[in-house]
């Protein structure tokens, strides 16, 4: 990490689905969540991550808080059925609603559609990585390297030419710092 960068802190809470926790840990980049006051992890998501990537739950830099399964409203249940969401995604949406958290981190397209229908903002691994530059948690060159490593190092699937476009946009944005 470049010494010129001093991380900003945030008081915001976010709710996490399993995908970004797993993918960021695969990149050894879970610390891009470290400026959030806390990352709420519903029980079903916690169990999913524990099964697939247990080490992601043991990061000291990120305040992951396991939350008991929240009650789901009729609207959340309707979205779950409509988009055939998993337990973890349903619990993540329900947690956003019950705790009035307006940011869900997920890489699942259907979960993002459901979030949109519930007026919940949703972002995924790529957005979080790029945001890390803006939040001064990572340098532009570090983030470019992390983005480029996604196909080899992670289980996140993205069309290669789209990833190339994304990297080009990041490079153009911070061209003077690369």
């Amino acid at each position: 990490m470049n010494g010129d960068y001093m991380a900003k802190t945030s008081t915001a809470l976010v709710v996490a689905d399993a995908g970004p926790l797993i993918h960021l840990d695969e990149l050894a980049a879970l610390d891009v969540l470290s400026d959030y006051a806390a990352v709420l992890v519903p029980n079903a998501v916690w169990l999913e991550v524990q099964h697939h990537r247990p080490q992601a739950l043991q990061q000291a830099k990120v305040k992951l808080i396991r939350q008991p399964s929240p009650p789901a409203s009729d609207r959340v249940n309707a979205m779950t059925a409509l988009y055939t969401l998993h337990h973890g995604e349903r619990e993540a949406l329900a947690l956003c609603v019950t705790h009035s958290v307006n940011l869900l981190i997920t890489d699942d397209t259907a979960a993002r559609l459901a979030a949109k229908s519930l007026n919940i903002t949703a972002h995924g691994t790529l957005g979080l990585l790029i945001r890390a530059v803006r939040q001064q948690l990572r340098t532009p060159s570090e983030v470019v390297a992390l983005l480029a490593a996604i196909p080899q190092q992670t289980s996140l699937h993205i069309r290669p030419s789209l990833l190339i476009d994304v990297i080009a946009r990041v490079k153009a944005e911070w061209a003077s710092e690369l």
Partner: protein, 65 residues
């Protein structure tokens, strides 16, 4: 036109699907697999996924939170 494919499915999911068939909630396992695949493809259309990624990039670059 249909074709035959081989894939691995977790035991628990397969057993749940078999139970649905046995109880009469679905005609057969093929019906369930086809319906599950159709629903997944509907909610994970490429254009949606790419739109969300572009939104992510924009938020990452210029968002305020």
């Amino acid at each position: 036109m249909n074709s035959t494919h081989h894939t691995e499915i977790p035991d628990q999911l397969w057993q749940q699907a078999q139970t649905l068939v046995q109880q009469g909630w679905a005609g057969n396992l093929q019906e369930i697999v086809t319906e599950a695949l159709r629903r997944y493809l509907e909610s994970h259309q490429q254009v949606l996924t790419e739109t969300f990624i572009q939104e992510d990039v924009e938020w990452g670059l210029h968002g305020e939170d």
